[in-house]
Amino acid sequence: MNLKPWMAAAFVGMAGVAIAQDDSTLSIDGEDFVTETAAPAHVENLSTIYSGWRFRTPETQALQEDDFDNPAMIFVDQGMDLFNAVDGAEGKSCASCHKGGPEEFVGLHATMPKVVDGKLIVMEDLINTHRVEVMGAEPWKWSGADMQAMVALIGLQSRGMPMEVAIDGEAAPFWEKGKEIYYTRYGQLELSCSNCHEDNYGNMIRADHLSQGMINGFPTYRLKQAKLISRHNRFRGCIRDTRAETFAEGSDEFKALELYVASRANGLDVETPAVRQ
């Protein structure tokens, strides 16, 4: 694992009380979710992958098990209002073209990010491209409330479907770049994503119970910020906590990392919008 001695101490310091993922089954309104499955072949260092839900306390878990109790759903409602709201020079809403409603996007979220015309595209790109080019509207801020409400609304359409992100063909070079970032140590603490989420999942880092860092529930309602948190916002937070200069939200680096991290969850069900601490 090659950690500095003090780091190892930080991770195992609470090992006596640390418990790994629990055995609970995530069930939302009667539908069971896959929160544990064999790791995909391209995740060499894990044998089993687990949803972050399995690492949370029963109280936090319960918030995701009922769509009314899940506070993220008020933002999904707002996303629905936005879907129908006319915006921009062309006088169109999302619904003007997507007459089938958000249901047109069933399954899309489970396969994102993906490469289109040689470019790696994440959901936020797709939304803003359509806003600017089709609606003549201003692009939304990456982690803004409107954008993440829309990402959550579209993501919800794939809830319960297994993550199935392509890593081969045109995606391969982006995926390799994301993998390199995942295993690179950043910041004054010299920590890579893998140091916490691969080598030490299930352990405590101070009072935090480390998960495998799966993103199959994003955007996720974080109790800390009490709002929907984007994938890139969470990446930024993690890298910032290593005391590093972080990449920007929407940067090529974070898009590549998103592809790689999303692919590590292949086989887990989409939980969007999840609830985490």
Binding site: F68, D69, P71, M73, I74, F75, D77, Q78, A226, K227
Partner: protein
Amino acid sequence: MASGVKPRVKVPKTASAGDTVTIKTLISHKMESGQRKDDDGNIIPRSIINRFTADFNGQNVIDVTLEPAISTNPYFQFEAIVPESGEFQFTWYDDDGDVYEETKKIEVS
């Protein structure tokens, strides 16, 4: 903060007379506590929902006083008796004088 406030209410559509029904409510609201400071060290003024009421056909079910210690996006769950068919009225009162309302009908057999 009148913008972006959206209530959600869960009430069963039907019940038998005299039944107990469970009600859940959630409203999007920052609940700015008045305890926080901005980057310049100035206190961010308090801005919360300070009262929530639920009534059924004009009779009160619950009347809640909220303090800044209630979490962002206030959530309540409680139980009501429904003597006859009618309408629940839910009302949230904002510090800034705004009032947010939601109604739900229930069919009692």
